[in-house]
């Protein structure tokens, strides 16, 4: 693989990562969250009627923890699938 090809591959993958990073942001009850693997794991520990910190370390009230988990996992799988598809296109 040529140096130019390597650089372009690296750039395309980094741009994809940037795209997925921005797409993973969603708003819940006024707070901004990133639907990454950390939030997916953390969301399952959140209880009804409690506060959690969003990406900007602002407290956000979670009334229905089940609904929050559903939103986080749905968004996470959506962007992970998109990442997988794009990744294949770039690397093949």
């Amino acid at each position: 693989m040529s140096a130019r090809r390597k650089f372009n591959l690296k750039r395309d993958l980094l741009l994809l990562k940037q795209r997925i990073d921005s797409q993973s942001v969603f708003v819940y009850n006024g707070g901004m969250f990133k639907a990454n693997e950390h939030l997916v794991a953390y969301a399952h520990t959140v209880k009804n009627d409690s506060y959690i910190l969003d990406s900007n370390t602002t407290p956000v009230y979670i009334e229905d923890a089940k609904d929050f988990v559903h939103k986080v996992t749905q968004k996470h799988y959506e962007i992970t699938n998109e990442y997988a598809d794009e990744y294949k296109t770039i690397t093949t």
């Binding site: 130019r4 690296k10 395309d12 980094l14 741009l15 940037q18 921005s22 708003v27 006024g30 370390t57």
Partner: protein, 259 residues
């Protein structure tokens, strides 16, 4: 768009002042077309020179400024701090006309409860790195005025915009204080200083958009632009970008838009 829709609480504002060297209206028209695609039903107001495709046109005088990027040129960037007074919306996202929208990320800014949101980190497409800039020689990280969300009415936001106007008005003083290029007034610097003053130089993390602004520097030229992607070119070759990005080489952007 109907009058009822125009009375929405939220909207996008774009500044448009044609300069002797750059056809900003062409850029603004493309920017509006992209916003219509990815942010449907969001009204768009243009401040400055009239654009037919905008929902609302707001005439406002703007003093000229000069920049020294690839030679000394005139540009009109000194009215940005008046957007708080001029916006017809309660929740406004003001974007540069060279910010090309290729995704719906702006929509999440409208839904956030934060009264002010701006980018701090940027992804440099040429150097493939995510980083931030400092204000002058200080350790104060620069905030980008390219995408700015704010709420109105809000006392603190109003205070920030008043401070922004003061920084622009007394830029020579601040340029010496912060060791800025006093020959080129940058809204990014003025906004950063204004927000820092408003927050009493405390943390501004709650005002930061939690992802990088993808930026194509001056050395990258626009090869072509479509509704869902833009192709940039540099010494490494071509690169296709499918997300919203800030294009610093305005001349090549206008060339790609107008053909």
């Amino acid at each position: 768009m109907s009058t009822k829709q125009l009375q929405h609480k939220k909207g996008i504002v774009i500044y448009n002042y044609n300069s002797p060297t750059v056809n900003y209206t062409a850029m603004t028209e493309k920017c509006i077309a992209q916003c219509r695609l990815y942010c449907p039903d969001i009204p768009i107001a243009v401040i400055g020179d009239k654009v037919d495709t905008a929902d609302i046109n707001i005439s406002h005088p703007c003093p000229s400024n000069i920049h020294n990027i690839q030679g000394t040129k005139v540009w009109y960037n000194l009215a940005r701090s008046s957007v708080y007074d001029l916006t017809p919306f309660e929740t406004t996202v003001v974007i540069d006309s060279d910010y090309m929208v290729f995704d719906d990320c702006l929509m999440s800014l409208f839904d956030s409860d934060q009264p002010v949101l701006v980018h701090k980190n940027y992804f440099n497409v040429l150097h493939c790195e995510s980083t931030n800039l400092q204000v002058g020689t200080s350790y104060l990280p620069m905030l980008w005025a390219t995408v700015l969300k704010f709420e109105k009415p809000d006392e603190n936001v109003q205070q920030m915009f008043s401070a922004w106007k003061q920084v622009i008005k007394n830029y020579r003083y601040y340029a010496v204080m912060w060791r800025l290029n006093r020959k080129m007034i940058r809204n990014d610097h003025a906004l950063t200083i204004a927000l820092a003053q408003t927050l009493d130089f405390g943390p501004n993390d709650h005002c930061v958009i939690p992802y990088d602004i993808v930026t194509c520097p001056q050395d990258m030229t626009v090869e072509h632009i479509n509704t869902d992607h833009i192709v940039m070119k540099d010494q490494h070759g071509k690169c296709k970008i499918t997300q919203s990005c800030h294009i610093l080489n305005k001349e090549s952007l206008v060339h790609a838009i107008t053909g």
